[in-house]
Symmetry: C2
Subunit: 302 residues, 2 copies
DNA sequence: TATATTCCATTCATTAATGAATGGAATAGA
DNA sequence: TCTATTCCATTCATTAATGAATGGAATATA
């Protein structure tokens, strides 16, 4: 290739990865290649372009002024590449390839495994990647094809489907109740130990809506990590609030005041509009839309 | 690399090259790689994208409908890559690297060698590529950094510099004149044999402007290839018209009627605007702008 | 001060990509 | 009908790219 088309486009992508990650090692990890390889690719790009794109220092690589001038076009290539791949995905007709799903940690652990196992049996050509995450970051576009979210994503170009509302319930471990006694009334509930959340104010807002304003200090122990939250309640650290259908499957947990009106968690399925036309993603979407209401207990028993 | 950034960008370029060339072999030649390699790259891209980008048939590869949807984004990547490389070239500060020059065959052979040899001695860090071509295709953007043209390029973004006008002269070989006698008058000229051009009508137009309209058949022998044209006249095939300064350096050729008013050939230097700011290209440009008027005889003797 | 961590750069063995050579198919022209 | 040409696809040897391992430097921490 002659003239200005000499530069291998893959090298441009290497430049962009390093510019974004700030170091060879971090960029190499993100790209799934080795650090020496990426270093060589950056060096090759610099030789081909005739400029120093980065300054090397201990904590990584920093764009030179000349290098910074390349980032705009590199990003445009990236966006165009994304469009190309979306266009191709929209034309793929086989039920093959990878579908990446992101969902909360709780749902990833307690709802999706049996469903996805079944889906794999029904569609052996479709490979599934499950990314548990409680981050509310918008992962949808870059790292997942389908997202399960407890709020309605409002990003442009994203298609959403309401699965239902997940009922919540108060639960305590049998060991806790054996030690502290079972709350005799709703008022009594608030004399007990609770497990709370650290940075999230979800529980505080929920209790305020019940007419019970509390502060962070009300929760003697707090943790945002859902897995750890479950373990704390299971071990008798206090009363916790869970998605009722999931907690009812957990032995050793007792529901308190099942008829107490608690807020419900909405559950939405989301996918990028263009990707959703891809047969494999369409298949997974339809499967989840059909199966999740029952699996999450969002549908009243018939 | 996760998500939609999985596809090696170099494969996209391969797709584009084949889409534009219409066959693996032609695209491979244009890219300077082998046909099997390109075939593999296209196959790898098709596998990664999960669609058939091309239909193979005897005379090459034809875009499928799905493949055609990819060309827009691929072209956008190409444009962005070009912008990136222009940005980099504008930041290169060393007098190093390759400069590609295109000029007519005659000038490439008879004018530029001594000049470029000298430039190489003055600037050993600059590598030069010379592409002789009589094509009036716009090669400027893709295959050459600097072009010498006998017309003023009017493409947008191209900077031009007038070098001067090359005087033309009528010449014949001594052997021809020994055999046919020297033309006694201008009228006598037209009873002689002439070497003409095949597809180009330049000579016909020139003679018409002299009040001597002739048809193609007036030239008993015709060839568009400049090298062959020279050889034919040298071998005594007939009278030819040449750039006077170049022909005067050729032993064995005699100029006829030096005072006969003939059209003159304009000579222009052209470069892409953004590229011309690159130090090495700037250096070559300045050198040629300074040296070419004398070398081509476009400047009147002081 | 010693240890741990993270970074980039280099070496060497392994793997992947490439190109030369070849074959088969289709078409045009003598 | 035979030959020449151009195309894509395949095989095998060669070359280039890659990754594991390693080393040195800089910084933070016990």
């Amino acid at each position: 290739m002659n003239g200005i088309e000499e530069l291998d486009w893959s090298l441009i992508r290497a430049l962009l990865a390093v510019a974004e990650a700030g170091s060879l090692s971090a960029a190499a990890r993100a790209c799934g290649i080795s650090q020496p390889t990426l270093g060589r690719q950056v060096a090759a790009a610099e030789r081909a372009l005739g400029i120093a794109v980065f300054r090397r220092h201990r904590l990584g690589l920093e764009l030179t002024e000349a290098g910074a001038a390349l980032i705009g076009p590199a990003r445009e290539m990236q966006a165009a590449a994304a469009r190309l791949m979306l266009a191709a995905a929209g034309r793929a007709s086989r039920l093959e390839g990878t579908v990446r799903i992101t969902a909360s940690v709780a749902i990833s652990q307690r709802v999706l495994p049996p469903l996805l196992a079944r889906l794999r049996r029904e569609e052996p050509g479709i490979e599934l990647e499950l990314h548990p995450s409680d981050d509310s970051d918008n992962l949808l576009y870059r790292e997942a094809d389908i997202a399960l979210r407890m709020y309605r994503p409002e990003q442009l170009d994203v298609v959403t489907c309401a699965i239902g509302e997940i009922p919540l319930g108060l639960f305590a471990a049998e060991s806790y109740l054996a030690r502290r006694g079972r709350p005799a009334s709703v008022e009594d509930l608030f004399t007990h130990d609770w497990v709370g959340l650290d940075r999230s104010d979800m529980l505080i807002r929920g209790l305020r809506a019940m007419g019970r304003p509390v502060s962070r200090g009300f929760f003697g122990i707090r943790c945002d990590d859902q897995q750890v939250y479950w373990r704390l309640v299971e071990e008798g650290a206090g009363i916790g609030i869970f998605q009722r259908p999931l907690a009812r499957r957990q032995t050793g947990l007792v529901e308190l005041f099942p008829d107490l009106p608690l807020p419900r968690l909405p559950l939405w399925l989301a996918a990028h509009q263009a990707l959703r036309q891809t047969p494999r993603i369409r298949r997974v979407w339809d499967f989840l839309a059909a199966e999740l209401p029952d699996a999450c207990g969002t549908r009243a028993p018939a």
